[in-house]
Amino acid sequence: MHEGFLVYGGFRYLKLATLLSVVAIAVYGWHVPPDEPNGGTWLGYGLGSIGAALILWLMWFGIRKRRYGTTDTLQGWLSAHVYLGLSLIIVATLHTGFQFGWNLHTLAYSLMMLVIASGFFGIYAYARYPQLMTENRRGVTTDEVYNEIGELDRECRQVASALPDAIASLVLVSCNETRIGGSVFRQLSGVDANCGTTRAFDGIRDLASSAEATHGADIRKLISLIGKKSTHLRTMRRDVQLKALLEIWLYFHVPMSFALLAALAGHVLSVFYYW
């Protein structure tokens, strides 16, 4: 179960994150700042320190998940990463005292919120796409599908060896110009408007009407084979699409995290540089 991290340990980290958020809100409500609420009061410094420590710890997950052989489970880490990461929304927002501006400080906050938002999509992706991927492949592995496609190509060429050049060249188009995925956009779209197999299928079907009668059986077999290949291609393109959706947020989440790390360091530095 890919969303097992959500229920890990009887919602241990959800409870911890909720406790942290509730305490932060309660202290914020109780605290009477000498001036407007802002990051410069003792509570502001406190919330800021907790937030910064959380961010560093959350980013440590990127290192932790590459380490093997530790006693704690990665699922537990992910659970903590998700729930404590979400609690940052409360902690960091209260740290700002709702003071925002066109400056490095609000940049750091915005980057943090973008990282959290992308992480939120990640939670959705992990809860939804693995299941869709399994349903899409109907229990067959990707290697099996690829081998099936290769086998179909070989059969097509065999059938086409006795067929006219126009049809044989279309079979070559199907064999040599078909691709799955490609650019990021094409992977995410899950379709290929210029699919070699589709072009071959349409072309051969058009040529079939004017073909010699003796070729009829071979052409029908060819059309059947290429149609079968198209079905496999649809499955694989959907597979690639789902895999891309499952991963794409990380290509946002991780670079934004490092941008946040830089902005956070600059934020802390600047605050004390101009104390």
Binding site: L104, A168, V184, Q187, G266, L269, S270, W275
Partner: protein
């Protein structure tokens, strides 16, 4: 061999045909055959002599003939041939030539004994592994699609480090020569460190808002009072730093109460805890203080204690609580009750006048204080300082009791000198026809009359019916010693707080000041704190006007030394 389709009228050629297959581990296997035909057909079709079973080859690709000069090859369909790499339609070929036909190469070789020609055929571009090629063409992962987490992470990290840390800090070293002088040395150039500006600055500070170093003079050190004092040099201590050397006061940072970057609103922290942290238990912490503990205007603030004259002779002023029925001893007699009663306000010119508060009490511009009461403009309409019914318009000067007797002497001396006085008791010399001269004895007589008359008038003036109406008159042995006790009117009842009448202009005077019932000037007509509390509550109130300490009180005290010593400022 017999080839019915291509041998009519032609000469057969004996051809050695070798099909080469390269093995994966090196070496070549050769499958040879000999044919005798007039022309050699090459193509994918099984009827061809040179059968090339690859879908990339047309059914009929080329034909090779044997001529007197050797082998001749020509394309049979629309697909061109390659001769030694050059595209051709047909060509005469010699030993060693390589003819490219689709993925195949045909090499013309030296014919063995008994043969006319020899060619070898090899598939040089095999179809390859379909799956491998499909995957090579495809992009099935985002990294294959050109995405890179690492690249973008580094890129964004560096952009932010350079743009928001490197440039702001580096920019200061470029300006480092200008930053130590505070606003005086400011430049208008915008520096990169504005990206660090945590909030909008106070309007009054915006003229140097782009020069962070005007206030933030040293990196990693809090802003100093000296930075503030480079402009605000006259700001005073809260309490005597020698008598009350509390570090909370002597070491107080301007910025602990005055925080900028909070928008254009005033820079002062108005939260009452700033004051009550000390003042709620001041008597315990500072036993010698005369101040009363206070923690909240609405619930825990002492009764007002105006500073009033309690011993006018010694000019002693005392703070007296309004709860203790204070008596202001000002040496002035005055009844608000009478003055507010129109029936009693008979004008010298006849008729009566209803006075209002504002007839006498006029705000200073800005409403901070009331103008001083001025006898000449506010009392003299009724209280005329006349002394002689025969000269009803002549008055003595107010406010200078020492000159009154002299003025009277001069007045009556002039009368005596002029003559024509109509008083029946006056001597003849004084009553003589004006213009006639005086003899020596008459002069003496006239002078004596004038002096006696001046003393009589002075006695009248210093009586209860004139000066004594309002003043405490002191009569010494000689008329020249007669005087009036100085009036000690209060200008600021509560000098440690401010009250603005202008902000209360929608109220009636009598809402706070019970003047109509006041019969004597000793009454202190200030409202008690309970009156204020009808509308004003403490800082935390939700049902009244929230009123923190700084609404009425200032922190900096005018009669204390400057918070930043002149010596420290001189070093700047």
């Amino acid at each position: 061999m017999f080839y019915p389709f291509f041998t009519i009228g032609e000469v057969d050629v004996d051809l050695r045909l070798a099909f080469l297959t390269r093995r994966a581990k090196g070496g070549v296997s050769t499958k040879e055959e000999s044919i005798s035909v007039e022309s050699v057909r090459i193509g994918r079709g099984t009827e061809n002599e040179v059968y090339l079973p690859d879908p990339r080859v047309p059914l009929r690709m080329a034909v090779m003939h044997h001529t007197a000069t050797g082998l001749y090859v020509e394309a049979a369909g629309t697909t061109d041939l390659r001769l030694n790499g050059n595209v051709v339609r047909n060509a005469q070929v010699a030993v060693g030539d390589v003819v490219g036909i689709g993925p195949y190469e045909i090499v013309v070789e030296e014919p063995p004994e008994g043969k006319d020609a020899s060619i070898s055929v090899e598939l040089v571009q095999p179809m390859g592994d379909d799956v491998k090629e499909l995957l090579a063409r495809s992009g099935t992962s985002l990294s294959a699609g050109g995405m890179s987490k690492r690249l973008w992470a580094w890129l964004l990290f560096l952009v932010i480090v350079v743009g928001f840390v490197g440039l702001p800090i580096g920019g200061q070293f470029l300006h480092s020569g200008d930053t130590s002088n505070g606003p005086a040395g400011m430049k208008n150039a915008v520096s990169f460190d504005i990206a660090w500006k945590s909030g909008e600055m106070l309007d009054a500070h915006k003229f140097f808002a782009d020069d962070c170093a005007a206030c933030h003079q040293t990196a990693f050190k809090m802003t100093t009072n000296e930075a503030c004092a480079s402009c605000h040099s006259n700001v005073r201590h809260h309490a005597d730093p020698v008598g009350f050397p509390d570090e909370k006061l002597t070491e107080a940072r301007c910025a602990s109460c005055h925080k900028d970057h909070q928008g254009p609103r005033p820079l002062m922290i108005e939260n009452q805890t700033v004051c009550t942290d000390c003042h709620q238990d001041l008597r315990n912490d500072v036993p010698k203080t005369t101040l009363v503990n206070v923690s909240d205007f609405g619930t825990d603030h002492p009764q007002f204690r105006p500073t009033i004259s309690t011993d006018p002779a010694k000019d002693i002023w005392t703070r007296v609580s309004l709860d203790d029925s204070p008596k202001e001893l000002s040496n002035l007699k005055f009844s608000h009750t009478i003055h507010m009663d129109a029936k009693k306000m008979r004008l010298p010119s006849g008729g009566t006048k209803q006075l209002a508060c504002a007839s006498c009490h006029v705000e200073e511009p800005g409403g901070g204080l009331m103008r001083k009461i001025d006898m000449e403009t506010q009392c003299a309409d009724c209280h005329q300082l006349t002394f002689d019914p025969s000269a009803p318009k002549r008055q003595v000067t107010h406010g200078k009791p020492k000159v009154v007797l002299r003025e009277l002497r001069e007045f009556y001396a002039a009368r005596a000198l002029e003559g024509g006085v109509v008083e029946p008791t006056a001597p003849a010399a004084v009553r003589r026809r004006p213009g006639t001269s005086l003899s020596v004895p008459e002069r003496k007589e006239a002078l004596e009359w004038s002096r006696e008359r001046a003393v009589r008038a002075a006695a009248y003036m210093f009586s209860a019916s004139q000066c004594g109406t309002c003043h405490v008159v002191v009569k010494g042995d000689k008329p020249s010693d007669w005087t009036v006790r100085p009036v000690r009117l209060t200008e600021r009842w509560q000098p440690k707080s401010v009250f603005n009448h202008a902000k209360h202009s929608d109220m009636q005077c009598a809402d706070c000041h019970q003047a109509a019932e006041s019969k004597v000037s000793a009454d202190v007509l200030l409202p008690k704190i309970e009156t204020c509390r009808n509308c004003h509550g403490g800082g935390e109130t939700v049902s009244k006007v929230p009123s923190t300490c700084t609404m009425c009180h200032g922190f900096h005290t005018d009669d204390q030394p400057p918070m930043v010593k002149p010596k420290e400022m001189a070093q700047k």
